[in-house]
């Protein structure tokens, strides 16, 4: 799908919510920004520079968490995080860093358990821990509140607030109120059109 008349910017310290009905294109837009989907027309810029798909600059600027929890069931939560860190930076995380991140979502007890034993909410929280473990300015979050209980939603909100206070940027697609302040983009304002141009009609 293609978005028409879509223009927005995220500035340091800013949180942008993508709102819209199911199927309005929130996930698609996030994947465009992350560089998974090609930009058919228009440009995507980061700072001064245009972003292309698969740019190294791009991969060092953002953290993305989509609908699936990118966790290996046979590895423990700690191992999953270390593998992620090694993939993104080539190095391992400090132990206390992991411990702190786990405290946020109350997962300290589970750090050395294989992920296969986790319930759906525990998995989702494990996936959210990546935001606390990687230092990157731009966070892309697709429905981060799904399946979280009340307590953990608050934890998520304060994690997001801290990131913003430190000058980070967040782009989050969600249906639920999150409890952090931010601008909203309503996907209704951009008519998605068919993938191919008019000349095909």
């Amino acid at each position: 799908m293609v978005f028409e008349k879509l223009f927005f910017e995220v500035n340091p310290g800013e949180l942008l919510f993508l709102r819209g009905r199911n199927g309005s294109g929130k996930s698609t837009l996030l994947r465009v920004v992350a560089g998974f989907l090609p930009v058919r027309a228009g440009t995507l810029t980061y700072g001064e520079e245009a972003w292309g798909r698969g740019d190294a600059a791009l991969s060092e600027a953002l953290v993305y968490a989509g609908h699936d929890n990118a966790l290996k069931p046979v590895l423990t939560l700690r191992e999953n995080l270390q593998e992620l860190s090694r993939l993104m930076t080539g190095g391992l995380l400090a132990e206390n860093r992991i411990a702190e991140a786990a405290e946020i979502f109350n997962l300290g007890r589970l750090l050395d358990q294989p992920v296969r034993y986790f319930s759906s909410g525990q998995r989702h929280r494990s996936n959210l821990m990546r935001f606390a473990c990687l230092d990157r300015p731009l966070w892309l979050m697709d429905e981060p509140t799904v399946g979280l209980d009340a307590e953990n939603r608050q934890a998520l909100a304060s994690l997001m607030k801290n990131h913003l206070a430190a000058g980070g940027m967040i782009l989050a697609a969600t249906h639920d109120p999150i409890g952090a302040e931010g601008r909203e983009i309503d996907m209704r304002d951009f008519q998605p059109t068919a993938t191919l141009g008019e000349e095909w009609l």
């Binding site: 998974f36 791009l58 991969s59 990118a70 080539g90």
Partner: protein, 226 residues
């Protein structure tokens, strides 16, 4: 945060080897398939030693190829299904590097054990004694091509459910040259003929596959993210 590309590269290799040999990984399984499928042939063909000896190099190579194929099925599929492929694509190493690392890990964790086990199957298939050395050497030289070519097919089919069998369709024809050179070499040494020419061709096909394999795989993976 400084990123170390070689750290990432070896990190991916380690990760994949670990996953392949962890619970339910492909490492042990490809090996068992190899052993079992080769032992099926004497059942099918009958136990006559001369016949077995005649077809031994072909059968061992064909089955090694099928075992490799079966394990390739999930080379990228597992990462695709659980969403890790998104992470792999975001790695500063780039998808080409990631694909290269994953192929290396596949070869080490899954194909190398087949090579090590092949002399045992030589005994079962009554392979002539002169041919053992060449067989192992041809496997060492030729199987990297299997992993590399297979990776391209696996990447192309990753977004297709039941890609596994589609994969065979794409990859098996590309395996034919490797197979011909390899069996040619083993047959040559079984017949006391010089095997260096087919071995050179075999090495060349592995090099060719190395040149294009990781790059094509990366392009195909990118496609599957869309």
């Amino acid at each position: 945060m400084s990123t170390s590309l070689s750290g990432i590269f070896f990190g991916v290799i380690k990760r994949d080897i670990r996953l392949a040999w962890s619970q339910g990984g492909t490492g042990t399984m490809a090996l068992s398939f190899f052993l079992i499928a080769v032992t099926l042939f004497p059942f099918g063909v009958g136990p006559e030693p001369q016949v077995l000896a005649r077809i031994a190099p072909g059968v061992i190579w064909v089955v090694a190829l099928l075992a490799c194929l079966i394990s390739l099925d999930r080379l990228y599929q597992a990462d695709f299904e659980d969403g890790s492929l998104d992470d792999l694509a975001l790695s500063p190493l780039g998808l080409t590097g990631v694909a290269a690392a994953k192929i290396a890990a596949h070869w080490i964790s899954t194909v190398l054990p087949l090579v090590v086990a092949s002399p045992l199957l030589g005994i079962l298939m009554n392979l002539p004694e002169e041919a053992y050395g060449t067989m192992v050497f041809s496997l060492l030289l030729g199987t990297p091509a299997l992993s590399l070519i297979g990776s391209m097919g696996a990447a192309l089919t990753v977004s297709v459910r039941r890609g596994g069998v589609l994969l065979s369709l794409l990859v098996l024809p590309l395996y034919v040259p490797t197979l011909i050179f390899a069996v040619g070499a083993v047959d040559a040494s079984a017949g006391h003929v010089d095997a260096s020419q087919p071995l050179a061709l075999l090495g060349a096909s592995s090099l060719l596959a190395l040149a294009i394999g990781p790059f094509v795989s990366a392009q195909a993976l990118r496609l599957s993210l869309e």
